[in-house]
């Protein structure tokens, strides 16, 4: 057995307790330094270089890069893809959260795993699966060609690939939230004569609104920034099937660095706005839950 040494005997008891459960200052500060350098190197530096390279050639070049017709077309297509896929995945997320969070049924955990599938599939493979179905060589290819419907190398393919990649975001955010809230409040509303829809709108939705908002924000960030999956199905036709990330790639490969970073800076701003929204939503959700806690405590008192 190791002998016990008590080197800090003689130090006041309270100070000894602190010493025993914290690190020495030099350890503390070196750990903080390691963390700060690591995060600075991998997070701050990339952000800094995006904005500094975007403005390197001056503000007029920056604005010109964004006003150029191909850039405008790319921005428009990105907005279209996100504008279709985010609402659809939101409706799906709410439906999935209602079915999985409020009811118990056989095969529930399998269903949750299947919903997570798109997260674990490489973006490139996500694009490929649609090429294999709708492309010229694909399963439905000959039929689509005969009826003059174009999905791959056209806007519908881009929307489909974006929907696949962002599929789990809202559902993933909502399912644990709805599950944790239980069914008592809804049952009370129904007993008091509310209809199913009223119960859903007034009770469930107002309980999960912050989580829903956060899921939608994350889903939107990914929808606007998706690169690999969209790259496979897009065909890279300038001004027609290029989203913002694909436009950035083309500019960068043509050594037009300042314009490439100018478009990239818009997406970086979107990312920063997403992080800010996340912080605000988390704060609001915490506020809501402490308020609920207070109400419950009041109920117990009476």
């Amino acid at each position: 057995m190791a002998s016990i040494s008590l080197p800090n005997l003689g130090v006041p008891v309270a100070a000894r307790a602190v010493q025993a459960t914290t690190e020495r200052p030099w350890v503390r500060w070196s750990l903080i330094a390691v963390a700060v350098i690591f995060l600075g190197l991998f997070l701050f530096l990339p952000l800094a270089i995006v904005f500094s390279s975007a403005l390197e050639k001056g503000f007029s070049v920056y604005l010109a890069a964004l006003h150029e017709p191909d850039a405008m077309a790319a921005i428009r297509l990105t907005l279209i893809a996100a504008g279709i896929s985010v609402p659809l995945n939101m409706i799906f997320g709410i439906a999935a959260a209602w079915a999985i969070g409020k009811f118990d049924f056989i095969g529930k955990s399998l269903l949750i795993t299947l919903i997570d599938l798109p997260f674990s599939v490489s973006p490139v493979v996500s694009g490929l699966i649609y090429v294999l179905i709708f492309g010229l060589q694909g399963l439905l290819g000959p039929w689509l060609a005969a009826h003059d419907v174009k999905i791959i190398f056209a806007v519908p393919g881009i929307v489909l690939a974006t929907m696949f990649v962002t599929f789990p975001f809202v559902a993933r955010e909502l399912i644990p939230l709805v599950e944790a809230q239980g069914t008592e409040e809804e049952e009370a509303a129904l007993t008091l004569g509310a209809s199913g829809w009223q119960t859903f709108w007034r009770v469930t939705l107002s309980n999960i609104k912050w989580g829903l908002l956060y899921g939608v924000i994350l889903c939107n960030a990914r929808a606007m920034g998706e690169f690999g999956a969209v790259s496979v199905v897009s065909g890279h036709i300038r001004g027609r099937t290029n989203t913002m990330p694909l436009h950035i790639e083309i500019l960068y490969n043509e050594y037009q660095f300042a314009p490439a970073f100018a478009v990239a800076s818009l997406l970086a701003l979107l990312a920063l706005a997403t992080l800010l929204a996340k912080t605000v939503v988390e704060w609001k959700a915490r506020q809501q839950s402490t308020e609920l806690e207070r109400l419950r405590e009041k109920l117990y008192e009476h």
């Binding site: 016990i4 025993a20 459960t21 690190e23 390691v34 963390a35 700060v36 995060l39 997070l43 530096l45 990339p46 952000l47 799906f92 439906a95 999935a96 209602w98 079915a99 009811f103 118990d104 049924f105 056989i106 269903l111 795993t113 299947l114 997570d116 599938l117 674990s120 599939v121 490489s122 973006p123 490139v124 699966i129 294999l132 179905i133 399963l139 696949f164 599929f167 049952e187 129904l190 859903f200 960030a221 920034g225 690169f227 690999g228 496979v232 990330p245 950035i248 790639e249 960068y252 660095f257 490439a260 970073f261 990239a264 997406l267 970086a268 990312a271 997403t274 992080l275 912080t279 117990y300």
Partner: protein, 293 residues
């Protein structure tokens, strides 16, 4: 009791919600994914094996899985330190660092890719210091590791953080009062407690890195046999209209990602079970307090 498909509930809308969920899931995800396996089944086993085990494919697996493992290990090590520092210490700018940890989730991969390439290029902010030392960071395997470290950065931090927050300080005090020094407490009390969560984060970072494309293609240089990752090989084959080749390699990636998904689920169940047990011991206390009020 008779086995039931669904527990009784007075809440409406189960059929509608579940029906829509399954329909949407099948149309968008399950059918397209199974179409890939259908397409792959048109290859004979020899053909499939010939493509999937070709020299170029094997070189790409080695790079993709090797670099992902290195990047996930870097993230495991630094992620534990970052989570620890963010939970336990106070320092200026802490809130800012905490919110920025999620940046790799929010920043589009193409943007990250060109930013990292510019930083590590021979004339870049960091590259210019590495080049005289004979270290080529961009357009090399090291570049792939750098990009994958960026993409996987949030996972370990975000899985470990809540576990550290929930840890009872009393356990550490108990360890200390039993004569353990700080290092022993960390190794024997704290590390075992956060290990399931850290491993979950590690495998998530690894799985994400294996499939990553956008942030890597710019910085890797894309030389076949040397710096070509597996997703890029799929794209190259597609661009040459080699659909069979692309499908075969995609199937290899899909099967490996299903294995990861299973592993991550098992790890999560493990760490969830540990958490529940830890909380379970507190439950009687809460019930007792409620009964008293």
């Amino acid at each position: 009791m008779q086995p039931q498909l669904k527990q009784k509930s007075i809440l409406p809308g189960f059929g509608l919600a579940l029906g829509f969920t399954i329909l949407y899931l099948s149309l968008l995800v399950l059918l397209p994914l199974s179409a890939t396996f259908l397409k792959a089944s048109s290859l004979s086993w020899q053909q499939f094996w010939h493509i999937a085990s070709s020299h170029r494919a094997v070189a790409s697996y080695k790079l993709s899985y090797g670099a992902s493992a290195i990047a996930a290990t870097i993230n495991l090590f630094f992620g534990l330190i970052v989570a620890w520092v963010l939970v336990r210490y106070r320092f200026p700018g802490k809130r800012l660092f905490d919110s920025l940890v999620d940046l790799p989730f929010a920043l589009p991969t193409a943007v990250a890719g060109i930013a990292l390439t510019t930083i590590y290029a021979p004339n870049g902010w960091i590259g210019r210091f590495l080049t005289p030392l004979g270290i080529q960071s961009a357009y090399s395997r090291l570049g792939v590791v750098i990009a994958l470290t960026f993409t996987g950065l949030p996972f370990v931090v975000r899985t470990v953080q809540p576990v550290l927050e929930d840890l009872d300080k009393e356990m550490e005090e108990a360890a200390a009062s039993l004569g353990a020094n700080r290092w022993q407490t960390i190794r024997k009390v704290l590390l075992p407690a956060v290990m399931p969560a850290a491993l979950t984060g590690f495998s998530m970072a690894f799985a994400r890195a294996v499939g990553e494309y956008g942030s890597v293609v710019f910085i890797s240089g894309n030389m076949p046999m040397r710096t070509e990752i597996t997703p890029l090989l799929i794209i190259t084959k597609l661009e040459q209209y080699d659909y069979a080749g692309a499908t075969a390699i995609a199937v290899v990636m899909l099967i490996s990602s299903f294995v990861f998904l299973l592993t991550i689920n098992l790890l999560q169940a493990w760490s969830g079970g540990r958490l529940k047990r830890a909380h379970g011991s507190e439950l009687p206390e809460i019930a007792h307090a409620e009964a008293a009020s």
